[in-house]
Symmetry: C2
Subunit: 426 residues, 2 copies
């Protein structure tokens, strides 16, 4: 792996080595895993020049190939971005190790002592695109949680990933952990992805980090569990009792702080009782920030059909994740209509209510079935760091195992432990 001259490992070989590494990393002491993270952070700092040079080659090749500017931007590592990657690795050291935790401890009527014992998930398969930061991010999260990781990054970023992997594997070796606990699929032929998705005997979970097409591919072909997420059509409902002055900054934050991500706002629903005041305010506040609007007929009538940047909403507009400075506007007559609209159009990622009415907030929280539900807070909080998990590998919109941020604890499972005095089942 450290030599670019040798042939890339085959998938069966990677799987065999991954499986062989699981037992050792799973039972590594917290101190040893944290030492590996410290070695990784130090190693990245020392290898800056090599990493940035490899990345510059990747970036030049992507530019020469005429790749899209957003892809080139995601691909690019700078000294600042590398600092931030290193800081994230160091940040993980301080977080508690979930592995080994005993919970649901109980003594049954027959005297059998039972608890659940937290253990790593096993082997994570992570498929991602042109973001070299994900390579370090997933490697560090896997090490912290005693998991093994098989990484398949985008072909555009192979050189950067290889340079980063030298450091990752060096850090593992330095503290006596198996290097093969983190492996990169260096054969970037797309066929290898399909091969990986068949390896249910090795890979315990597939985590695709990318767009809807990658998720679909994984869901359609994976023979093991997949954690899908990272796609959201997010709503804020401005209820009749909302404090409008305080609501505006929340809408601004949810829409404009980082419009290209999954927890950014797509649609504002406004209660009819306050729409005549709220909608013009929303447009007047957000339009100068570059936001353009897709308004339903009632909203359109209130904000002035001729306003610059306001267009009638088309038939699919309320089912679109904008990923940009576009915002849907719709008037609803009641909390029920808001909840029904969200049930019909949300992708169950992040939805919120702005209200002073406790009963309406309680109904919204109970009845809106999204991974994150927000009352008087921005949808942008649906994030591992923001919700206090310290780190995340993905934001899940599926229902099994994890919803919302997949942090350290969500990278574990448990086993049942029962201790008896030669107990037999009656």
């Amino acid at each position: 792996m450290t030599s670019t001259e040798s042939a890339p490992r085959s998938l069966p070989e990677i799987g065999r080595l991954a499986k062989a590494a699981t037992r050792q990393i799973a039972r590594a002491a917290t101190t040893r895993k944290d030492a590996a993270l410290a070695a990784l952070a130090d190693g990245l700092d020392r290898a800056r020049a090599a990493i940035l040079a490899a990345n510059a080659d990747d970036v030049a090749a992507a530019r020469a190939a005429g790749r899209e500017p957003w892809l080139v931007d995601r691909l690019t590592l700078t000294a600042n971005r590398l600092d931030s990657i290193i800081a994230d690795v160091r940040g993980l050291i301080a977080l508690p190790d979930p592995v080994g935790e005993a919970f649901d401890t109980t003594v049954l009527a027959n005297g059998l002592r039972v608890h659940r014992h937290r253990v790593p998930l096993g082997v994570l398969g992570v498929i991602y695109e042109a973001r070299p930061n994900v390579t370090v991010d997933v490697a560090a999260l896997a090490i912290k949680t005693g998991n093994v990781a098989i990484l398949r990054g985008g072909s555009e970023t192979l050189g950067s990933n290889q340079a980063l992997m030298v450091v990752v594997r060096g850090a593992l070796a330095q503290v006596g952990l198996p290097e093969d606990a983190v492996q990169l699929i260096e054969d970037v032929d797309r066929q290898r992805i399909f091969e990986l998705l068949q390896m249910h005997d090795v890979v315990d979970v597939i985590i695709p980090r990318g767009g809807a097409a990658l998720h679909r591919l994984c869901r359609d072909h994976a023979r093991m569990p997949v954690i899908v997420g990272g796609v959201g059509i997010c709503h804020l409902f401005v209820d009749a009792s909302a404090d409008l002055d305080q609501s505006l900054p929340v809408i601004v934050n949810a829409k404009t702080q980082r419009p290209s991500v999954c927890n950014s706002l797509d649609t504002v629903l406004v209660h009819a009782d306050v729409a005549a005041r709220a909608l013009p305010l929303i447009v007047a506040t957000l339009a100068p920030l570059g936001v353009v609007f897709k308004a339903d007929p009632r909203a359109l009538a209130l904000v002035g059909p001729g306003s610059a940047g306001v267009e009638p909403a088309g038939p699919d507009d309320f089912d679109t994740e904008w990923m940009s400075l576009v915002l849907g506007l719709k008037v609803v007559d009641s909390l029920d209509e808001a909840i029904d609209h969200i049930a019909a159009h949300s992708l169950n990622h992040s939805d919120g209510i702005l209200t002073e009415d406790v009963a309406n907030a309680a109904r919204f929280i109970n009845e809106v079935d999204s991974a994150g539900v927000f009352w008087n807070a921005s949808t942008r909080f649906n994030d591992g760091g923001q919700l206090g998990l310290g780190a995340e590998v993905a934001v899940s919109t599926q229902r099994l195992h994890v919803r919302g941020p997949m942090g350290l604890r969500e990278l574990t499972t448990y086993k049942w432990v029962a201790t008896g005095d030669y107990h037999v089942r009656a």
Copy 2:
């Protein structure tokens, strides 16, 4: 559904009705769900004659078709078995409702108040074979946990299932819950299973209850998460310090109490230091109970190669789930060799150690990575009822979401709820 004259519902129709029922059952009060369970138990009691008559027809048809005796046995309902089914439904009423529980409650540094709020999984797809008891079992568990269930039982048991479903749906209607919260796929064409496995927009999880072939089919074709389980090659390791007199009843219990189930014992590993005494005792104790043995060469030498019921183990014998009164015997030189053997041959269902040595027990518990790990206790305890969960829908051997018994709590997921004072992300 109550009329056998109308055409069976199509899968898309079932899916649409299931999805429509989710919101109402998900937010039903505990008292209403418990009232539905009471109505179900009462209804089953009242409908005894119709249920047993329908079942007798199914059994007669299966016999006439020359089906296997074990299948006919599983298919058969008797007054006693119906009593036990009714008692299980009543037992669920007393168990706590997991839905609505708030957990991981915290206030972040910025004042945002955050918790996780427990909610139903959504729509369960359960595929099973000739066991009509599963129909009631899953219906009752789904009702208790606010889930919707789509059931696909074996074709042999269609008449029984239809008779049971009349009662299930009547009970839901009686308390004002949507009848379509539990639906049976009455079109028993196998093609409908493949159709169900494609419905990832409706079905949140597929739970196959059956053999390895059914699990494989679901893993290969499902486009949604699958909970697989119910298959185990289970071990007990008799360590050098085990109390042999107390160990024998544990081995007897694990092997013979119910040999046809997944948590029954398949292989006994015996430490070489005690093998000369332990192995003849094991054979002498279990042989009269009808157990036959597959012994490795060292074990064979100790129990006497000529003993009745003792055969040399063949090459695949330690990789076979016996489901019958067959027991593998093997001598190992150390705890490490026992752990290695289990790592190589277990299906990670239920494995245990019999020892008086606390350090060895601790290592075994840490290093054996099975859904249930037992110290001085029978593997037969790996069961929802036995581990104090009260009920279970399956015993999972996969790692995501649930390991071991899938009880009420494991039939739920959560959403994040964040409450702020018009908080924005910095």
